[in-house]
C-alpha cells in the first residue's frame, strides 16, 4: 500500500521511542541527540505530533508518574508504530542508497 511520506518530526519521535518508552521532555532531548542537535522540538510541535500519532494508533501511553509535583506521561510505540517506523526507515534508506550510488557514479562526491 502506498503511504504518504512521514514528516521528519514524526519520524524522529518514533525513532526516539523505538528504544523504549519516554516522557515528553525525554523525547525532545533524544530527538535533539538523534539529529545531531539540528532538530529541537518545541512543546507545541511535540504535543501536536504525539496527539496525531496516538490517534493513528502508532504510539500509546505506557504509564504516568508525578515528579516534583509535575505530571509525566510516558509514551511507547505500538506494534503498528514499530511496523510503520521500520517501513519508513527502509524507504528512506533505499532513497539514500540510490542517491549515494548515483553520486559515486558521477565522480565520487560521496563523503
Amino acid at each position: 500500500m502506498n503511504r504518504r511520506a512521514m514528516q521528519e518530526s514524526s519520524f524522529l519521535i518514533l525513532t526516539a521511542l523505538a528504544a523504549g518508552s519516554q516522557h515528553g521532555y525525554g523525547i525532545i532531548r533524544d530527538v535533539e541527540g538523534i539529529s545531531g542537535g539540528r532538530v529541537r522540538l518545541q512543546a507545541g510541535t511535540l504535543y501536536t505530533a504525539l496527539e496525531r500519532l496516538r490517534q493513528d494508533g502508532l504510539i500509546e501511553v505506557e504509564r504516568e508518574e508525578i515528579v516534583d509535583s509535575r505530571l509525566r506521561r510516558y509514551y511507547r510505540l505500538t506494534t503498528d508504530g514499530r511496523e510503520r517506523l521500520a517501513e519508513e526507515a527502509a524507504r528512506l534508506q533505499a532513497h539514500a542508497a540510490a542517491a549515494l550510488t548515483r553520486l559515486d557514479l558521477l565522480g565520487g562526491i560521496v563523503p
Binding site: 500500500m1 503511504r3 504518504r4 511520506a5 512521514m6 514528516q7 514524526s10 516522557h23 515528553g24 521532555y25 525532545i28 518545541q42 512543546a43 507545541g44 510541535t45 511535540l46 504535543y47 501536536t48 496527539e51 496525531r52 500519532l53 490517534q55 493513528d56 494508533g57 502508532l58 515528579v67 509535575r70 505530571l71 509525566r72 506521561r73 510503520r84
Partner: protein, 218 residues
C-alpha cells in the same frame, strides 16, 4: 510572584488557546515539559515557543475532533482553502478596483461618476462586507465537518448554493470582463467548494463508515 510562577502563568495563558479536551488531556504534562525546557531566569515564554504554541493551538482547534472518513477530512481542507480564497478575493477587490474602473470607462465612455458611485454602493461595497462573513462561514463549516454535526451538510449546501448564485450574477453582469482577477479567485473558490460538496455527497451515498484516517501520519 517568583520568576517561575510568572513563567508558568505565561505558559498557562497560551495553553488556554487549546481546545478544552486537549487541555484536559495534556495541559499539566505540557507545563512540565515547558518548565523543564525553559532557560534559567526566564520570566515569560520566549517568542519562538509562544509562536509554536499558537500554531499548535490553531492546529488542534482546526483538526477533526471525531474520527472522520478520508473524504470528509479532504472536504474540510477544501473548505479551509475556500475560506482563504474568499479573503484573497477581498484583497483583490481593493487592489484591482482602479483597473476595474478603467476597464468600465474604456468599454463604456458615457459611464458617469454618479453611475460608478451607485455601482460601488450597490455591488462592490456589499460584496466587501460579505467577504469576511463568507470566509468565516467556510471555515466554520470546515470545523463542524470534523465534528460530525448533522446539520452541517444542509448548511454547507445552502451556503454553496448562495455563493454559486452570487458568482453567476457577477458573471451575468460582465464580471469576467471588468474584474477578471476577482472572478478568477471566486472561480477557484467555487471549485474548492464544489470539490468539498462532491466528497461529502460521495461519502453520504456510499454510506461510508466513519474511521480514523489511515496512513495519515505526518
Amino acid at each position: 510572584m517568583t520568576d517561575l510562577q510568572s513563567l508558568e502563568r505565561g505558559y498557562r495563558r497560551l495553553l488556554k488557546l487549546y481546545p478544552v479536551w486537549f487541555r484536559k488531556e495534556h495541559e499539566e504534562e505540557m507545563i512540565g515539559v515547558l518548565m523543564a525546557g525553559a532557560a534559567v531566569g526566564s520570566r515569560r515564554p520566549g517568542l519562538v515557543e509562544s509562536l509554536d504554541l499558537l500554531r499548535g493551538a490553531a492546529a488542534m482547534q482546526l483538526r477533526p475532533r471525531t474520527a472522520t472518513s478520508r473524504g470528509v477530512a479532504a472536504a474540510a481542507r477544501f473548505l479551509y482553502l475556500a475560506s482563504f480564497l474568499q479573503l484573497l478575493s477581498l484583497l483583490s477587490s481593493f487592489l484591482t478596483i482602479a483597473s476595474v474602473r478603467a476597464t468600465v470607462l474604456a468599454l463604456n465612455p458615457a459611464f458617469s461618476a454618479a453611475q460608478w458611485h451607485s455601482l460601488m454602493v450597490s455591488q462592490v461595497e456589499p460584496s466587501r462586507i460579505a467577504a469576511p462573513v463568507v470566509a468565516f462561514l467556510w471555515a466554520f463549516l470546515a470545523w463542524t465537518l470534523g465534528r460530525s454535526m448533522r446539520w452541517t451538510n444542509i448548511a454547507f449546501a445552502a451556503v454553496f448554493g448562495l455563493f454559486t448564485l452570487g458568482l453567476l450574477s457577477a458573471l451575468g453582469q460582465g464580471g469576467a470582463i471588468y474584474a477578471t482577477a476577482d472572478i478568477v479567485v471566486d472561480g477557484l473558490e467555487w471549485i474548492a467548494g464544489f470539490l468539498a460538496l462532491a466528497l461529502i455527497v460521495r461519502d453520504a451515498t456510499r454510506g461510508e463508515t466513519l474511521e480514523a484516517p489511515a496512513g495519515a501520519v505526518g
